[in-house]
């Protein structure tokens, strides 16, 4: 484990922030105020946070259609994101992108992505850039991390990206979040190798790791090793498969008839990364319940503030449509 109080607190706060962000969105979407397609990350928080807590701003991440968790974990502004999802002119992307296209280049967040599998090659490019930059004073490289789902691992671009990273020895980590579903299809059907994505990556010539994605400490420990490996010049890429769970539908509005009876209740009861984290740190006496409760309350406040600000934020106007296509034209 080797995490100090501050680190543990931060991790919990980050996971909780994602959770409440999503739970609140789930409510708000029902009112019809929020437009577009929204894919909630709830249930997978330990992956985003367990990965990103190791990263600095130099490191880059590339995300997916289910990107809120990765964005928040990499440090994107909560209110800026909420405003974006609300479609405000003050959103992180001026209301141009919405849920599926949140990015913050300054934070090293190179974008959520609506095209399944498109992020992987982009991540390789970011890794190649970091390779050109070379190691820091500490002899370690910056890394690029691409998040992909079990569905994305069937898209040709993902495979090409893995091979290119191996060939070029790019400092890239392919993080596969296996939540067992791509839309309404089970991975036991769509992934020829069923519950095994890591072996595919291995066959591309990469070192691979696997861990329980609902166990924050498993993710965090695993990523320490992976990062240590990939940051070492000359080693090249690696892949990690995390076994995780999606608590909501594929997108908001999904009737989820493909789920087994009681499936979600069972997942919430037994595979909730946040409850597991909480149980483990309180039982080990590392953090008192009261501290965590305080974070819970703070988080709800942060979200409430973000929602209020989003509601009140200025809307874009027709004139804005034409802006920001080019820098010069």
């Amino acid at each position: 484990m080797q995490m100090n109080r501050e680190a543990l607190t931060r991790a919990y706060r980050q996971m909780k922030l994602i959770r409440e962000f999503e739970e609140r969105l789930h409510e708000e979407i029902q009112t019809g105020e929020i437009a577009g397609f929204t894919h909630l990350y709830c249930g997978q928080e330990a992956v985003a946070v367990g990965v990103c807590e190791h990263l600095s701003e130099r490191d880059k991440i590339v995300s997916t259609h289910r990107g809120h968790g990765h964005c928040l974990a990499k440090g994107c502004d909560v209110t800026g994101m909420m405003k974006e999802i609300w479609g405000s002119q003050e959103g992180l992307c001026n209301g141009k992108g919405g849920s599926m296209h949140i990015a913050d280049l300054e934070k090293g967040m190179l974008g959520a992505n609506g095209i399944v599998g498109a992020g992987s090659p982009i991540g390789v490019g970011a890794g190649l850039a970091l390779k050109i930059d070379g190691p820091d004073g500490d002899g370690k490289l910056g890394v690029a991390i691409t998040f992909s789902g079990d569905g994305a691992c069937n898209q040709g671009t993902t495979f090409e990206a893995m091979n290119l990273a191996v060939v070029t020895k790019a400092p890239v980590i392919f993080v596969f979040e296996n939540n067992h579903y791509s839309e309404h299809t089970g991975n036991s059907y769509a992934v020829g190798t069923a519950n095994d994505i890591a072996s595919r990556a291995e066959a591309f010539g990469m070192k691979v790791w696997r861990a329980d994605g609902t166990d924050f400490f498993a993710v965090h420990d695993c990523m320490r090793e992976v990062l240590d490996y990939v940051r070492t010049p000359g080693n090249g890429p690696a892949a990690v498969e995390f076994d995780t769970e999606r608590f909501f539908g594929h997108f908001e509005g999904d009737p989820q008839r493909y789920r087994g009876p009681g499936e979600i209740d069972r997942l919430r009861a037994t595979r909730d990364c946040i409850s597991k984290f909480r149980d483990s740190v309180t039982q080990a006496g590392l953090l008192p319940d009261a501290d965590l409760d305080a974070i819970d309350t703070e988080t709800l406040d942060v979200i409430e503030t973000a929602v209020k600000a989003s509601r009140a934020a200025p809307r874009p106007t027709a004139a804005n449509v034409l802006e920001n296509v080019y820098i010069t034209y």
Binding site: G87, G95, K96, G98, A118, G151, H184, T185, Y189, Y258
Partner: protein, 337 residues
């Protein structure tokens, strides 16, 4: 005749053609919906409800749920068609043509030509397209401008449930490859649909949706409704418009367009695509080269701007053509003397 929604007209036509012809088969992502889950096949039945019930009726060999692999989907459709089947493939959003264009453009479209006329490739590729749902830049696009440029493909853009039925049946029975573009915003549209099991609408024949003598409005797919609404609005002011619903952009019914412009002398083209190298410019160029003598005013094009599709509601509606914009363009052309 039966009253049907556009999406049901599509689903029913596929169903009937599968019943009629054992060579017809379906493939795409989540077209069964629920494979490999506790809910089981048909738990969802296609995210657009255009394939509900097909799996139960025709089984896994002919209703093929695929992984997220668009190149493999279109490529498999190509192979199925070359090997004697009549695949109807679905690409969930037309925007995903970016990852599978080779199979459409360099394979399916070109086989017959490259092979000296010795093959047929009767594949239908269905692609839900278009904006209106605030789905932002990567889930809102139209792509008829690309596929219309591609020799070897036929391109269909039905604007009503009736046309969806008749044109899809024609597409499935057609021996050439067909790109079938369903506007997502039309899925919920209701209308009378022929229940003749052989009802087909031939390709290359436009439909005159409104008749008038003052201006010619050309549109396809979703844009037809806007053109009609504009025409109806203008009619109140005594302005009469021909509204030409192209139905297919390739083949193109040049005659109907040219005949109309010869009478009206004024052309307005409505297109949801960005303006450059688009269907709007295509129709404009046709008229400027073949009906020049009849033209009385500059050609007006009502299109999306040269920008990606924006997310926020205000932005997206400003982005899209609308009946008001069409009507304004008609008035503009009429103001020219």
């Amino acid at each position: 005749m039966a009253k049907l929604m556009y999406r049901d007209a599509i689903r029913n036509t596929i169903f009937q053609e599968m019943q009629r012809d054992a060579r017809v088969c379906v493939l795409g992502e989540d077209v069964v919906g629920g494979m490999g889950t506790a809910g089981g096949p048909e738990a969802i039945g296609g995210i657009w409800s255009t394939s509900t019930g097909l799996y139960d009726a025709f089984g896994a060999d002919r209703v093929i749920d695929t992984p997220i692999s668009e190149s493999a989907i279109v490529g498999a459709a190509a192979g199925l068609a070359l090997a004697g089947k009549r695949p109807v493939a679905e690409i969930m959003f037309a925007d995903f043509i970016g990852v599978c264009m080779d199979q459409l453009w360099n394979q399916i479209a070109k086989f017959r030509y490259m092979f000296g006329g010795k093959s047929i490739c009767p594949a239908v590729i269905r692609m839900p397209c278009g904006a209106g749902y605030n789905a932002a830049a990567q889930h809102s696009q139209v792509i008829h401008q690309f596929v219309t440029n591609m020799p070897g493909l036929k391109v269909v853009m039905p604007s009503t449930p009736e046309d969806a039925c008749g044109l899809l049946r024609q597409a499935i029975r057609d021996d050439d490859p067909v790109i079938f573009l369903e506007h997502k915003f039309l899925y919920g549209m209701s209308g009378e649909v022929s229940d003749d099991p052989d009802f087909c609408i031939p390709f290359g024949h436009a439909r005159l949706a409104r008749a008038g003598l003052d201006a010619t409005i050309v549109a396809a797919g979703m844009m037809v409704g806007y053109a009609e609404a504009a025409a109806d609005e203008l009619a109140k002011d005594g302005i009469g418009c021909d509204v030409i619903d192209l139905r297919t952009t390739s083949p193109l019914d040049e005659e109907t367009i040219l005949d109309s412009v010869e009478v009206t002398g004024r052309l307005i083209v409505v297109d949801e695509a960005p303006p450059r190298c688009s269907l709007a410019t295509d129709i404009a160029a046709l008229v400027a080269s073949k009906a020049f003598a009849s033209l009385k005013a500059p050609i007006e094009m009502v299109t999306a701007p040269h920008t990606p599709v924006p997310f926020a509601r205000e932005l997206e509606s400003a982005y899209l053509p609308s009946p008001a914009k069409v009507a304004a363009a008609v008035r503009q052309t009429l103001s020219y003397r």
